[in-house]
Homo-oligomer: 191 residues x 2
Amino acid sequence: MAINRQDVLTSAIRVLDEVGLPDLTMRRVAGDLGVAPGALYWHIPNKQSLLAAIADTILADPALAAAASKSRMRWDRQLAGYAHALRTVLRRHRDGAEVVSAALASRLGSGGLHDSIAGIAAGAGAKPTDAHAAAVTMVHFVVGFTFEEQTRELLDRAGATAGETDQLGTDRAFADGVDLIVDGLRTRIPG
Amino acid sequence: MAINRQDVLTSAIRVLDEVGLPDLTMRRVAGDLGVAPGALYWHIPNKQSLLAAIADTILADPALAAAASKSRMRWDRQLAGYAHALRTVLRRHRDGAEVVSAALASRLGSGGLHDSIAGIAAGAGAKPTDAHAAAVTMVHFVVGFTFEEQTRELLDRAGATAGETDQLGTDRAFADGVDLIVDGLRTRIPG
């Protein structure tokens, strides 16, 4: 069977959702596709590139693109909406936040996240350095918050955490953090 | 040889600095101490608890305590100083940010971080919910930023990243993010 890059990514995300990031291997993806591991390497050279490509696929979710393009909305609501959409999209996949975090660290993928946020900030009149700072801060907050949330959910299922999760409290804490960063950016916007 | 909890932690941090988080196992710590693995479990029941205890030990660094206690400094400078000290302290240990991130996610350790930041914010007159939001946001930003930084350094050493690291630019991006969060909190402080 001839496989293309899209087949590899579809299969990789299926494996991720099934077994989680620690058990996601090139060998396992090949097994899911029913091909020899060597057939994968023509499309994806190594695990680092695989993670970057998975991250880009996760972030290609239409919900995120929709949030980025609501340009008739006020910038502060648009930015907050984008942050909330990002958390939602990361949570759609097992270990989604960790995958995106790894891709960002390797700088092989997911640069579009920062561009989208910096674009919203620049559209509101922020200087490039301030728009960049807002993007870096927001992405770390959303990805870090969601990574912690997904880790905790995993540990909860394993019965390994100290306390119970308060979902309403978690949602509110997330919204409060987003609003704080939006208000920080607001102090840099003229007028 | 009789070992105590402190011996276990000292050895665990030595192993962490030497081999990194992925290879940090109870067995390896026992080997470093020259005892049977069973001897460890009396002090530390499992790896999750070990990570939490290592995180608490990393964060017990005097530099961080000093930054938290500079109460004669203006709150904004004190909060920024604490964030910078946290990054410095995390970077003193291999995978330091990832260890603290794991400990925070399990809620078994490192709650002191949030208390210190919320304390600075409350001292400045912030309401408890705003002080909490500032703490959550700042900790995610600093830990996330440093985690990404340490991951990238590791990949750079392995020759696996796409670009070169610009240390000055990285430091400036960190400072800009901290300032943005401080300014966000400032909008919630009366007067």
